[in-house]
């Protein structure tokens, strides 16, 4: 397309691994992750930053990767759902989502878990209200959130247990 800058080279660290990729500067981080890096855990639900299904961590912030141009992710540290387990050992949030019924159809789950991951980084012992507030940027149509909130509370309790 005319008037648009051509492809450039961008480096970003995703789940601890440095990648250098060729992309248009305005390409969405979501597409780079899914198409170029094959990390399809982040999903496109709305394409306008409302549903949170594409949520990932970028330099310690929770972002909707459908709204982040890859140029903005130059040099960034990105963590996706594929990067939180310890090898085959699930992250405590993943285990809690499984045990509490926090995942139904599963399409919002990667983004939801990333939002919960960020919440627990900032507030290791969140109250019920803080959990509800912390996940309010992520839409789930299946669960009514009750079991998701319970999963986050369970993961927090297990981590804080002596």
């Amino acid at each position: 397309m005319s008037g648009q800058p051509g492809k450039g080279e961008f480096s970003l660290t995703v789940n601890g691994e440095l990648h250098t990729i060729g992309a248009y500067p305005m390409e969405r981080l979501l597409d780079v992750l899914r198409v170029q890096l094959g990390l399809t855990g982040a999903k496109e639900g709305c394409g306008e930053g409302e549903c949170g299904s594409c949520a990932v961590l970028m330099d310690g912030l929770l972002v909707n990767s459908c709204l982040v141009p890859v140029a903005q992710a130059q040099g960034a540290l990105v963590v996706t759902i594929e990067g939180i387990a310890d090898g085959e050992a699930l992250h405590s949030l993943q285990t809690a989502f499984l045990q509490c019924g926090g995942a139904q159809c599963g399409i919002c789950t990667p983004g939801m878990i990333m939002a919960a991951y960020q919440l627990l980084r900032k507030k290791p012992k969140p109250s019920t209200e803080e959990i509800a507030e912390g996940l309010a940027g992520n839409l789930c149509r299946c669960t009514g959130y009750t079991q998701i909130c319970e999963a986050v509370a369970q993961a927090a309790a297990r981590r804080c247990a002596p």
Binding site: R34, L39, T40, G41, A42, K43, E44, G45, C46, G47, E48, E50, C51, S53, T80, I81, E82, A85, L90, Q94, F97, L98, Q99, C100, G101, G102, A103, Q104, C105, G106, I107, C108, T109, P110, I113, T128, I131, A132, E133, L135, A136, G137, N138, L139, C140, R141, C142, T143, G144, Y145, T146, Q147, I148, C149
Partner: protein
């Protein structure tokens, strides 16, 4: 033998690990070599003749594959019930967003620009957009009278009762459209070659519906069409019939191009072009005695089906049968019809017509209570169906259900009496008022009437060479837990560990037609068949002497492996047979409408802020009798999820229409509840069991959609004293209603005793 019980425990979700790690593969996660991306050119007008289609300048059209109605090898329709809906418009369009032309290209990013470059000229025809316009018949947009379907249910002699009535309570209730809003949009991939035939992978509920539609559209014999369900990110009825349309589109592009073609909608296309819950209008005219007992009544139920018949006749059927609620009507006449407008066809959405007619019924019960001067509790208690009584279709209630007791338990859990008293004594000057509302309701499980008999579903269970067991069904998983619970049933039947039972991915080349995954039928109907088929496996191994009555999991595995080594395969099939005591007459709409009903009492507590008119649900009690609960965590998840969708339908979710097109087709302006908008939903079960379902289960999936709307609206009415009879109730709707001040009591046409 495995002595641990599996049924009734919360075993891990079969596909759970893949979902929490991001490894689960949804349709848009799959890329095939040389794949093209497809897009749909749609009507920008509600009704008219297509004059011309022009490929505009600035696009290298020779790089595109282009398909129009003329390229269709078979019949240009989306085969379902009446086959009236074209797959691609041929000369005329009947609703906005109707598909006209398909294009495909290797680069998905240039599709939008290409779609915009196609110019379509129309001769406009007058269009209609409401039930009232459709009924007036000034424009006939479908058939001879704009009517897709009518039903008449008649019990007793309703014309004889009016003279004995102490009160006649009359009112009209309306509901708007509701978008399913699954988070994964509709999407499919089609691939075709002359030798392999046509394969379709997709996000869908009913593989055999798509199979049937593709055969007819592409003029292919059954064995050359294969439909595979991929991991499906929510459906709620929204992927019952529409996938047949999008599958047809991808198939046509794949056949013409010889390459795999993926079509995945973006959010706005999905919201504006695909199906939604039918808007409805219900009128009640009810004769009541001085104590509040129903003497009889007339119910007039109408749904807006949109431009084509699709599933409207069956949605209407369920709404009609549920219109009388869980109450005893000595005399009743229910007239129901589905009418045509020039909106995109409305379709299946959890509850399937029942949430609409039950909203009306439950609001009407509160209205009757206030006219008579008794409480919402008493009016329900007086009129509940009891064992031995008959429903509006004269089905005898055989189950030992005691709705009075269920209501008592619900009231206690919600602390109803104390709260109601407390809220009513609150200061009228308070800018924040609280209210509490009840809904009592029922939901029939399985297809209506003779439906299950016609479906004659088949399921299989296979003993594999490695000794594991596989369930073979076309029932699909889209979050409800189909895979998990059907494996639980087979494991329990065979006394095997849950882990040694797997379930096949629904693939029409591999699994039999166990019917569509709809109508709260999977666990009750399909589950029962899985149970029989699993018993068949055990019986075969016992009969041929490979297994004794008592066996360990290892012995079973060994026996299974030996059998397969000797005979090639070990498969057991079961087919649905209607129980002889279930009789239904389609002509008179009388008889056993459903094999079983689930029953429920829902109670909502709300606060309304009289400065902003926003409503918050502070507490929600959902108490239900759904037979035996096979998996407590999944069952509870069905209820909490349904309640959330119901609260959304009542308070947040408004489709804004203009000339038949949804104007707010984005998550930014069509608002569904977030975690911050909902209370912790409190879920309770009674378990009476059910002879028709596997291990005593009834249907559960749709039930929780029926009750939240009336419970919440009744609570808002309780808080404000204003009659509110239309949903959704956004703050501006409440403001308008309060400005008009129709008090709950004065709003009724009320006949004093003669």
């Amino acid at each position: 033998m495995n002595s641990e019980k599996i049924i009734g425990t919360s075993v891990p979700r079969k596909e759970g690990q893949d979902k929490v790690t991001g490894r689960a593969r949804y349709i848009d996660d799959i890329v095939l070599p040389n794949m093209l991306y497809g897009a749909t050119v749609r009507s920008s007008i509600p009704r008219g003749k297509i004059k011309s289609v022009t490929l505009g300048p600035g696009v290298s059209w020779n790089e595109f594959v282009i398909v129009s109605a003329g390229d269709i090898p078979g019949t240009n329709c989306v085969a379902l019930i009446s086959d009236d809906q074209p797959c691609l418009a041929d000369g005329a369009v009947n609703h906005p967003e109707e598909p006209i032309l398909l294009i495909a290209h290797p680069n998905r990013h240039i599709l939008r620009k290409a779609v915009e470059a196609i110019v379509i000229e129309y001769d406009l025809l007058p269009a209609i957009f409401s039930i009232e316009e459709s009924e007036q018949g000034k424009e006939i947009v479908w058939g001879t009278d704009n009517t897709f379907k009518k039903y008449l249910v008649e019990k007793g002699d309703v014309d004889s009762i009016w003279k004995d009535a102490d009160y006649i309570v009359e009112a009209e209730y309306t509901t708007g459209a509701q978008e399913q809003l699954y988070i994964e949009n509709n999407g499919v991939i089609a691939q075709y070659d002359r030798d392999q035939g046509l394969t379709l992978w997709g996000s869908l509920q009913c593989p055999y519906y798509v199979h049937k539609a593709l055969m007819k559209l592409c003029d292919l014999p059954p064995e050359t069409v294969r439909v595979v369900q991929t991991e499906t990110g929510g459906a709620f009825g929204g992927k019952e019939d529409y996938p047949s349309m999008i599958a047809g589109h991808a198939a046509l592009l794949a056949m013409k191009s010889g390459k795999p073609v993926k079509i995945v909608y973006d959010r706005m296309e999905d919201m504006t072009a695909t199906t939604k819950r039918h808007p409805s209008r219900t009128r009640h005219r009810t004769a009541v005695d001085k104590h509040g007992k129903l003497l009889g009544g007339e119910i007039d139920f109408v749904i807006d089906g949109g431009a084509y018949a699709t599933l409207s006749s069956v949605v209407l059927s369920r709404g009609t049968i549920h219109a009388g609620g869980p109450y005893f009507w000595p005399h009743v006449r229910i007239r129901a019809k589905a009418v045509a407008t020039n909106a995109p066809p409305h379709g299946a959405f959890r509850g399937f017509g029942a949430p609409q007619s039950l909203f009306a019924m439950e609001r009407h019960m509160d209205r009757i209570a206030s006219v008579v001067g008794i409480s919402p509790v008493e009016v329900r208690r007086l009129n509940f169906l009891k064992q031995g009584m008959t429903t509006t279709t004269e089905q005898v209630i055989r189950e030992p259900i005691d709705l009075g007791k269920l209501l008592d338990r619900g009231l206690e859990l919600a602390d109803y009496s104390n709260k109601r008293k407390h809220f009513q004594t609150g200061s009228k000057l308070d800018k924040r008022r609280k209210g509490i509302g009840i809904a009592t309701f029922l939901h029939g499980a399985g297809f209506t009437g003779s439906g299950e008999r016609y479906l004659a579903s088949v399921v299989g269970v296979e003993g594999c060479a490695d000794g594991t067991v596989r369930v073979l069904v076309s029932s699909t998983e889209f979050g409800q837990g189909t895979k998990t619970v059907l494996c639980q049933i087979a494991a329990e039947a065979l006394q095997l560990p849950y882990e040694s039972v797997q379930i096949a991915q629904p693939d029409t080349n591999e699994v039999p037609n166990s019917g569509p995954t709809v109508a709260s039928r999977t666990i009750m109907v399909v589950g029962k068949l899985v149970l029989s088929a699993a018993y068949g496996i055990r019986q075969t191994l016992l009969t041929c002497g490979l297994l004794s009555d008592e066996y360990s999991a290892d012995q079973f595995r060994d026996a299974c492996a030996k059998y397969v080594a000797k005979h090639g395969e070990l498969k057991s099939w079961a087919q649905y047979e209607a129980s002889p005591d279930i009789s239904w007459d389609d002509a008179s709409y009388r008889g056993e409408a459903y094999a079983a009903y689930a029953w429920a009492v829902y109670i909502a507590e709300v606060t309304i802020d009289l400065t902003t008119y926003s409503v918050t649900v502070n507490d929600f009690v959902a108490l239900q009798e759904v037979g035996n609960v096979l998996h407590p965590i999944l069952a509870r998840g069905q209820i909490t999820g349904g309640v959330a969708q119901g609260i959304g339908f009542a308070l947040y979710e408004k489709v804004v229409w203009q000339n038949g097109r949804m104007q707010n087709g984005q998550m930014t302006n069509y608002i569904m509840p977030t975690s911050a908008d909902l209370p912790q939903i409190r879920v309770y079960f009674e378990e009476l069991g059910n002879v028709h379902g596997a291990f005593g289960a009834k249907g559960i999936g749709e039930l929780p959609m029926d009750g939240p709307v009336p419970a919440v609206v009744n609570a808002v009415v309780d808080a404000t004293g204003i009659a509110l009879d239309a949903i959704p109730l956004l703050p501006e709707d409440i403001f308008k209603a309060i400005s008009r001040e129709p008090r709950e009591k004065s709003a009724h046409a009320l006949k004093e005793p003669a």
